[in-house]
């Protein structure tokens, strides 16, 4: 059934109430204007932990809520509506997925309770260039004694500027372009040789470029299988992509709703501009697109809950569609607001900025359309 169940509806209501009270768009402006280096409010993150959100993808037997991907997506969607900045995607979705599925007992013990408690932020570092290209990973992890030595640079690591540890994809074999030879490592950011350059970003949340300059780790740092880490990386990225798709759906819905409110209120040429049929038809078309994106997102989240390794088609459909629809929604929102939409005085521009970041991360609309085509045989 492509509908939320009762528990999920309750979670949605709770999430909506929480973000509108604790993390309205004004909270993002505060992070921006006060130049908070973490890119999020740690107090808010602790409150999210109290709500249980940090454990949404951690199984109950490991101290989490085990709400699954639909639950996580519902939270992302609501955060998308208020542009809530938090390490939810990096930590509660991607890192929690990696560790709860493939972490060693020691890794789980060390990190899962800390994630659930809202005390640890863990970033995932994959891309090395301007485009998302996991298979293109070139960074090497050379064997070194019993462990590995990591060298290379990771571009635009989400929450890398605030992370306690980084899940990093590197090559223990093979070369850029191949999907074999991947290994994932969990490296504490305080490790010698690892440095982070904070990036000031369009969405005010920041990110980091991480440089690994001969960073030495023991074999215990490996998450999952040495040389065969790509399938796990795909699942972790799947979590990130679905989370972003859900957030983009929320982003699109909210900028759409605000635009409809404006159309019902603003007067020009002696009438409410929402009465102009040309705008009505564009609004109606956009509504259809927003509806279609929502469905694709729900289908992807359910597919992830059913089988994370088999959900990649559904996830790519969702990320592609949500990215392009959120873009259209942002464009129409600015245009229909007219001049005021161009000013920093209202929030519409902030939705456009975050849309650009979320649609670019972990594969843009075309990256995922390409994956859909491959999955469908052409």
């Amino acid at each position: 059934m492509l509908v939320l169940n009762d528990d999920q509806v309750m979670l949605q209501d709770a999430a909506r109430g929480f973000v509108s009270e604790k993390a309205p768009v004004a909270a993002l402006r505060k992070i921006r204007d006060e130049k908070i280096a973490d890119g999020f409010d740690r107090g808010l993150w602790r409150s999210m932990a109290e709500m249980g959100w940090t454990g949404v993808l951690v199984p109950e037997d490991q101290g989490g809520l085990g709400f699954g991907f639909v639950g996580a997506g519902v939270i992302c969607e609501e955060m998308g509506r208020t542009l809530t900045a938090s390490p939810f995607l990096s930590t509660a979705m991607m890192a929690a997925t990696a560790l709860s599925r493939a972490g060693s007992p020691a890794q789980k013990e060390r990190w899962l309770p800390a994630i659930v408690a809202g005390e640890a932020v863990i970033a995932t570092a994959v891309d090395e260039g301007r485009r998302h290209d996991p298979a293109g990973t070139a960074m090497r992890a050379e064997r070194h004694g019993n462990g590995f030595r990591l060298s290379g640079t990771k571009a635009y690591v989400v929450d890398g500027q605030a992370a306690d540890a980084v899940l990093v994809a590197a090559r223990t074999a093979g070369s850029a372009g191949e999907t074999g030879g991947f290994s994932l490592f969990l490296v504490e950011t305080a490790t010698r040789g690892l440095s982070a350059e904070r990036l000031s970003t369009l969405d005010s949340r920041g990110a980091a470029e991480l440089t690994f300059d001969g960073v030495e780790v023991t074999a215990d740092a490996v998450v999952g299988e040495v040389d065969d880490g790509f399938p796990l990386l795909e699942i972790v990225l799947g979590a990130g992509r679905a989370g972003l798709a859900a957030e983009l759906s929320g982003n699109a819905q909210e900028s759409f709703d605000r635009t409809m409110a404006y159309l019902r209120e603003r007067k020009q040429f002696g009438r409410t501009i929402g009465a102009f049929q040309a705008l009505q038809h564009r609004a109606a078309h956009l509504f259809c697109e927003v509806e279609v994106a929502r469905s694709a997102v729900l289908a992807a989240l359910q597919a992830l809950d059913a089988d994370p390794a088999g959900a990649s088609l559904a996830v790519s459909v969702a990320k592609s569609k949500a990215s392009s629809v959120a873009r259209l929604a942002a464009q129409e929102a600015v245009q229909m607001h007219g001049g005021i939409g161009m000013t920093d005085a209202i929030d519409i521009g902030l939705f456009m900025k975050r849309m650009q970041v979320a649609s670019t991360l972990y594969g843009d609309a075309d990256f995922h359309a390409d994956r859909v085509a491959r999955a469908r045989g052409f």
Binding site: L2, G274, E291, V292, A293, A296, V317, K321, F378
Partner: protein, 396 residues
């Protein structure tokens, strides 16, 4: 084992015993469809037997009440029946506008006598119906229709013409919107009549489309006498029935998207016809970008049809005005699909007659889809519905 599972087993066994082997092969064209009616010529004994057996159980209209020739099945049971039929590739025993349109209208608005008279005959495939809605000068503004039914005591005298009456030249009877009050506001002077296509004054003329021959006709009424008993619902309130059926039709067109989106996607067709490169990618890179995006939209739309259906099922309400979303989006997608198929075909898509192009199947299919966003309510009307009813945007 729950009751539904028991029903499934029973159904499977019955279908296995009763569905003729020939009726488990795919339909290859309009010719293979059983439309029923007084003059219908069965294509084979198997087709005739299959209709008779299914009609006997009421399974031509499985969800209708048994009292009117239906199967009396629950929503879940109907779903099971369809699943089991699909599992063995069983053809539909009967298609008709009686099943799709008039039946639901009579169940909702008809008198007991009308239900008794018409529904069982629809269920058994004895009477083939056509629909008399559109008129040449009404178009999207259906309510401005001008076909008049004058009150002549115990009967009406119907004069005017209808357009886009599918299979009017093959139908036995017509359900028809007529104007019974010219002084009332246009939506309040319309009535819903049933009459026989063989009655004096009725004539039809097929319409040639840009895609070639079509089932559409123009239908002319020249002083047709229709007994007042053939009025469905209240006099001058036929618009309520029309609206009910228009929403119903939109849901079918948009939501029965199997038909719109069925079969191979344009990307898959292109990969087969044009070929792929060493990495398995469609060899035409520009086309590939477009078929890939169309695939994303088609899959996302399929999820939307499923979601609306599931929401309707779990919420206990129909899809309602959101059927306009399905109708608009589904038909626009289908037009795009055929544009992509034409790009794929290149020169081969330019052939109009001849065996190797199957008499221009691809370009005719492409041209035919241009009507998708016109028939059953134009895309513009759908967008108006979305804007006004779903988004509550103000009137001009």
């Amino acid at each position: 084992m729950d009751a539904l599972e028991a029903f499934r087993r029973e159904t499977r066994a019955w279908l296995d015993a009763n569905c003729p082997a020939e009726m488990r092969t795919p339909v290859s064209g309009d010719d293979d469809i059983c439309w029923g009616g007084r003059n219908f010529v069965f294509k084979s004994e198997a087709q005739k037997v299959w209709l008779a057996r299914m009609a006997e159980r009421g399974w031509t209209v499985p969800g209708w009440p048994k009292a009117y020739g239906g199967g009396g099945l629950s929503h879940e049971e109907v779903k099971v029946l369809k699943e089991e039929m699909r599992a063995i590739g069983a053809r539909s025993p009967l298609e008709s506008f009686g099943i799709w349109m008039l039946g639901p209208a009579l169940l909702a608005f008809g008198s007991e006598e009308q239900k008794q008279e018409h529904l069982p005959r629809i269920a058994r495939g004895e009477i083939r119906w056509c629909q008399g809605y559109s008129e040449p000068n009404a178009g999207s503004d259906l309510a401005s229709l001008q076909t008049r039914a004058e009150d002549a005591g115990d009967h009406f005298v119907v004069t005017g013409s209808k357009i886009w009456t599918s299979y009017a030249d093959k139908a036995d009877m017509i359900f028809c919107l007529v104007r019974t009050d010219f002084s009332a506001p246009k939506h309040l002077g319309i009535s819903f009549l049933l009459f026989d296509m063989t009655w004096p004054g009725v004539s039809t003329k097929p319409i040639l489309l840009i895609s070639g021959k079509s089932p559409f006709c123009e239908t002319f009424f020249d002083g047709v006498k229709v007994p007042k008993a053939n009025l469905v619902g209240t006099l001058n309130r036929g618009w309520d029935i029309a609206k009910y059926l228009l929403t119903h039709e939109r849901e079918m067109i948009g939501g029965g998207g199997g038909g719109l989106l069925g079969g191979r996607s344009p990307g898959q067709v292109a990969a087969q016809e044009i070929g792929t490169d060493g990495e398995g990618k469609l060899a035409d890179a520009f086309l590939r970008a477009d078929v890939a995006r169309a695939e994303v939209d088609a899959l996302a739309f399929a999820a939307t049809m499923a979601r609306y259906k599931d929401e309707a099922a779990s919420g206990g309400k129909g899809v309602g005005d959101r059927s306009a979303v399905l109708k608009y989006y589904g038909t626009e997608l289908n037009k795009r699909r055929h544009e992509l198929l034409m790009r794929t075909a290149g020169h081969e898509g330019l052939e109009w007659e001849g065996a190797r192009s199957n008499d221009g199947e691809r370009p005719r299919g492409w041209l035919r889809t241009k009507a998708n966003s016109i028939e059953g309510g134009t895309s513009e009307v759908m967008l108006d519905i979305v804007a006004k009813r779903l988004l509550q945007l103000p009137n001009a």
